[in-house]
């Protein structure tokens, strides 16, 4: 018995050493990001191979999702197809890799994909890990309220109750910038929406894409404020140091801006979900100009 215990203990030590040994080089990568071990494909290598590999979401309707026929669709995917067309001459010369939110950075670092187009919000922390191209979309907060007592401006909320979900950017923004508004906080989205429907609060705020889509499905409610708070941008990402590909994407996005490509994309992919009353200017970014 003693021997077994000793063996087990040694095993633990060894395993711990193994884990430490494996994670050490990964740390080096994030610091000295110029030298990831797996080198991303250059522009000419992608051209030679004939297909570009793009990482997208497969369960984020309407940005990247699989329809009932098994075809990948959405705002990000629409843009991805266009990238393939501009680079390789055909919309079909793209291989979409379905990624998860948690492993998006790893897919780039291990060179499993050339570009990530998975609703990737630009943050300073992520900029250390990957290179972001010019943005093609932006998100901010939205405020939804009942039609008969529609709130169109943050000033109208003075002294009223605003429903938020704990831990969201909406909670942080309103408690810091509008202390005069009473906040009613919930843990889950469903509870928050139920509270709004019951009239326990005057309005509800979270990401504008989320409230816009909800208001379409729920008659009697309208998004009075479509964009408030800090605007985050969403952009394509490539492996750190893959400047050639990055420059090409940036040039391409400027050209696309001239033909208002992302407005067309909005019409095709987002409008069916968000409806007619939404101003595309609150979501779409053309030519990388926020």
């Amino acid at each position: 018995m003693k021997k077994k215990l000793l063996g087990a203990l040694l095993g633990v030590t060894l395993a711990a050493g193994l884990i430490a040994g494996c994670s050490a080089p990964a740390k080096e990568n994030s610091n000295g990001a110029q030298s990831p071990s797996a080198k991303a494909r250059t522009l000419s290598e992608i051209k030679d191979s004939g297909t570009i590999k793009i990482g997208v979401f497969s369960d984020k309707n309407p940005f990247g999702y699989v329809d009932a026929n098994g075809k990948i669709q959405g705002y990000d995917v629409y843009y991805g197809k266009r990238l393939a067309k501009d680079l390789l001459g055909s919309e079909d010369k793209v291989e979409f890799v379905y990624v998860e939110a948690a492993s998006r950075v790893e897919y780039l670092k291990s060179a499993k994909v050339d570009v990530i187009l998975a609703n990737f919000t630009v943050t300073d922390e992520r900029k250390d890990q990957v290179d972001f191209a010019l943005p093609y979309m932006k998100v901010a907060l939205g405020v939804v309220s009942p039609d008969d007592k529609l709130i169109k401006d943050a000033a109208e909320l003075n002294g009223k109750t605003l429903i938020v979900v704990k831990g969201t950017t909406a909670e942080t923004y309103f408690s810091q910038n509008h202390p005069e508004i009473k906040l009613l906080k919930f843990d889950e989205y469903q509870e928050a929406y139920d509270a709004l429907a019951d009239g326990r609060g005057d309005a509800f705020s979270t990401d504008n894409t989320e409230v816009l889509a909800w208001a379409i499905q729920n008659k009697g409610f309208t998004v009075g404020i479509e964009s408030i708070g800090n605007t985050d941008t969403i952009a394509a990402a490539v492996q750190k140091g893959n400047t050639e590909l990055l420059d090409w994407i940036n040039e391409d996005i400027k050209t696309l801006g001239k033909e208002q490509f992302f407005h067309k994309n909005f019409e095709e992919t987002l409008k069916p979900v968000y409806g007619d009353e939404i101003d595309p200017e609150n979501l779409v970014v053309e030519g990388g100009q926020v």
Binding site: G7, A8, V12, V66, A68, K109
Partner: protein
């Protein structure tokens, strides 16, 4: 109730896609299991070696597998191998490698305990008849251990089938992921699809795992008799 959530299953080829996802899960589990059984048999015999060092190394391998979460192993093989060794494996291959690595260790330990449960006189009688070591194992010991092993092997297999739901994190589209895709794509049109889709996945897992557990239980009973 005209908007019953079950309708999503009959839209397009949703149901076929779910079955495809299940097939993917099953493929990974069964291929890994076959490899695990072969490697585990060998490992189990090695584990009964009289040499201390050999037993010690086997023990370390087993402990590593038991301690490391399968998810960590999956990330190491899928992303780690690409980053550090420049070996770019497809997700399903990485999954089979990790599951075999895991299964072989568990299987090895099962084989070891089954071998040790065979009374010593079985070995001695074999040697007494002038058989070589290999012959004793081939004709006397292995056939007896196989019968004792079957129930626990079935148990390992069903565990493996259920654990395949992790492989989605390395980009393999298996049944749970297909389910999430279906729920999400109909998020605006059929908000209560989740219950139905997960219900069907539950039945699918059950339909696959139940026969295995039944078989295991029956074998267990037969051996006891």
């Amino acid at each position: 109730m005209q908007n019953l959530g079950i309708q999503v299953l009959f839209q397009g080829n949703n149901f076929l896609r779910l079955c495809g996802g299940l097939w993917q899960s099953l493929q990974i589990a069964v291929i890994s299991m076959v490899l695990s059984i072969v490697l585990g048999m060998i490992l189990g015999i090695v584990m009964t070696s009289p040499k201390k060092l050999v037993r010690f190394l086997c023990r370390i391998y087993l402990e590593i597998v038991r301690i490391m979460p399968q998810l960590v192993l999956l990330f190491l093989v899928y992303f780690g191998a690409a980053k550090h060794l420049n070996i770019n494996l497809p997700g399903s291959w990485a999954a089979v490698i990790v599951f075999t690595f895991w299964g072989a260790a568990e299987m090895g330990d099962l084989v070891r305990s089954a071998l040790q449960s065979i009374p010593v006189h079985q070995y001695q009688s074999g040697f007494g008849l002038g058989m070589t070591k290999l012959q004793v194992y081939r004709y006397v010991i292995i056939p007896q251990t196989v019968r004792r092993l079957l129930p626990s092997v079935m148990n390992l297999l069903t565990r493996m089938i259920k654990t395949t739901s992790l492989v989605v994190l390395i980009g393999v589209i298996e049944v749970v992921k297909v389910g999430k895709q279906i729920i999400d794509s109909s998020r605006y049109t059929v908000p209560d699809a989740a219950l139905w889709v997960y219900g069907v996945i539950f039945i699918m897992y059950f339909a696959i795992c139940y026969p295995f557990s039944r078989a295991a239980a029956m074998l267990d009973k037969k051996i006891k008799d």
